[in-house]
């Protein structure tokens, strides 16, 4: 009975699992999840190379992203995660004395970077399913725009990520809940350092699982085996040797059986060469079960 209960929760998470954009669960053959979201961060401080906060010109990044999962079989899931429209801007710098513009602000609008992936779930019905993913990060954004070459809608390099996902579903009172985690290696090109990535999340479904609340921990640790920051003109969230540990919250609400809305918030609690400001996201999703 207990086993059946866990299995039923796991199956429920297969349907709902895409709420937290992945996890180890396979989407299921012919099933699709599409999420269109706006993600943004605006920051005037950053974590420097020793993790302390230093100022910078106010910089903003707005990504209108499409995330999609397509169940190719009961074990294979194809994923797409791309910034269909990315906007990076920097404020004008004005004299506090004369009000003259000293450095003209600029913006760069373009397609952002796109990740495409394939996930294989080994044991969908196990108590703790495990999946292996291969994600290719395509440098479709612009790595050096604007008159100074310091505006970016992508990192300009080809990422190859191998990731192991795991998770499990359970009950909290009468509510469905789950935890999921991942570890991964990002092999990078163009002199960028390789990265170790990991994350954990915990979600609980409320109101008959129409509302899912999720807490997330996401981290990137750089191997720092690439070029130094002085070798490239990277800023903002695309700089080389970046590291962070971020905590976030996300809420997803099913307006209908297939359409829902989401809102999220995350902020780095530790970082190096990375923006030091919260990021926000709002989105709509289509869950074809």
């Amino acid at each position: 009975m207990k086993h059946k209960l866990i299995l039923s929760i796991a199956l429920a998470l297969v349907l709902q699992g895409s709420l937290q954009a992945g996890g180890p669960w396979a989407k299921g053959k012919g099933k699709t999840y599409i999420k269109l979201s706006e993600w943004w961060t605006v920051f005037d401080t950053h974590y420097n190379d020793i993790g302390l906060l230093d100022p910078n010109v106010t910089t903003g990044i707005y990504n209108t992203s499409l995330y999609a999962e397509l169940g190719l079989s009961n074990k294979f899931t194809a994923t797409f995660n791309g910034a269909l429209f990315s906007r990076n801007f920097m404020n004008n710098i004005r004299s506090g004395t004369t009000n003259d513009i000293l450095i003209q602000g600029e913006a760069l609008n373009s397609l952002g970077d796109i990740d495409i992936g394939l996930k294989y779930t080994f044991n969908q019905e196990a108590r703790i399913p495990v999946a292996l993913s291969v994600v290719l990060g395509l440098p479709t954004g612009i790595a050096g725009g604007g008159t100074q070459g310091n505006l970016q809608t992508g990192d300009g390099e080809f990422n190859q990520i191998v990731q192991l996902d795991f998770g499990s579903g359970f009950k909290v009172g009468n509510s469905d809940a789950y935890f999921a985690g991942y570890v991964g290696i990002n092999n990078r090109t163009q002199g960028f350092s390789e990265e170790f990535r990991y994350g954990l999340e915990y979600g609980v479904g409320l109101a008959n699982s129409k509302l899912w609340l999720t807490g997330k921990l996401t981290a990137v640790e750089s191997f720092k085996n690439g070029d130094t920051g002085s070798s490239v003109t990277s800023t903002s969230i695309f700089a080389n040797n970046s590291e962070f540990l971020a905590l976030g919250l996300e809420a997803n609400y099913y307006v209908t059986k297939t359409v829902g809305i989401s809102a999220g918030f995350a902020s780095a609690v530790r970082g190096e060469i990375i923006a030091a400001a919260p990021s926000y996201s709002v989105g709509v999703f289509l869950d074809i079960k």
């Binding site: 230093d54 010109v57 707005y62 209108t64 404020n91 100074q148 310091n150 809305i261 709509v284």
Partner: protein
């Protein structure tokens, strides 16, 4: 599907980042200075004084000035700064802005021949970080017959983590507007030099280290 399209359209409309303004505190006290001071003016000779005016953001500007001699019977001076020595004695030559708010003055003695004030041929000082990025060291800025040289000493160390890291000469410690770009920082530890063309030793008051992509000052040195 209609709901999905509706909410999707709403996202595009509502969320767009706009370029706004960041302000920097770039006020400096305006200053006027006599750039070619002399100790002694030869009897019955003339000497043309020059000035430099830096406004309240450290930018060099041409302004109308008023020249004064404390005793025109010893040394007279025209409003274009041309001084003439008439008799023995010592006077104060002063230059003022028209509103008399900013001035500079030197003491000049009438003697056998004109003698310029001997300026030091070099300036030494310390580079200090103004952020949490590593940046420190001592330097010598020296003027020779072949040009101006900024020699950074062996005790210098800075970070290699910053992209677009440049060094400037500026008259405003908080701004590179109107500053002279010496070059990109490519040495992160130890002694090195920059050769600087078209600049004189006393043209600027500060060395400024600046990260261009982040548009932020990283460190500075005062040129006394």
């Amino acid at each position: 599907m209609k709901n999905f399209i509706f909410f999707s359209t709403l996202l595009f409309i509502l969320f767009t980042g706009c370029i706004e303004d960041d302000f920097i505190e770039d006020f400096v006290e305006p200053e006027i200075s006599i750039t070619n001071a002399i100790d002694t003016l030869g009897l019955d000779t003339e000497y043309q004084f020059n000035t430099r005016f830096l406004n309240n953001t450290g930018q060099q500007e041409s302004v109308e000035v008023v020249w004064e001699s404390s005793d025109p019977t010893v040394i007279s001076i025209t409003q274009s700064g041309l001084a003439t020595a008439h008799s023995a004695g010592t006077v104060v030559i002063a230059v003022n802005t028209v509103d008399q708010s900013i001035s500079d003055a030197i003491e000049v003695t009438v003697g056998e021949e004109t003698v310029e004030v001997e300026e030091p041929a070099s300036i030494t000082g310390s580079i200090m970080t103004t952020t949490f990025y590593d940046l420190e060291g001592t330097f010598t800025l020296s003027e020779t017959d072949t040009g101006l040289f900024l020699d950074i000493a062996d005790d210098y160390v800075t970070t290699s983590a910053l992209p677009g890291f440049y060094v400037y000469l500026s008259n405003n410690r908080n701004s590179i507007s109107g500053a002279f770009e010496i070059g990109e920082v490519t040495v992160f530890r130890g002694a090195h030099s920059y050769e600087i063309d078209g600049v004189s030793l006393n043209d600027y008051n500060f060395i400024v280290y600046y990260c261009k992509p982040f548009n932020v000052k990283v460190g500075e040195a005062v040129l006394n």
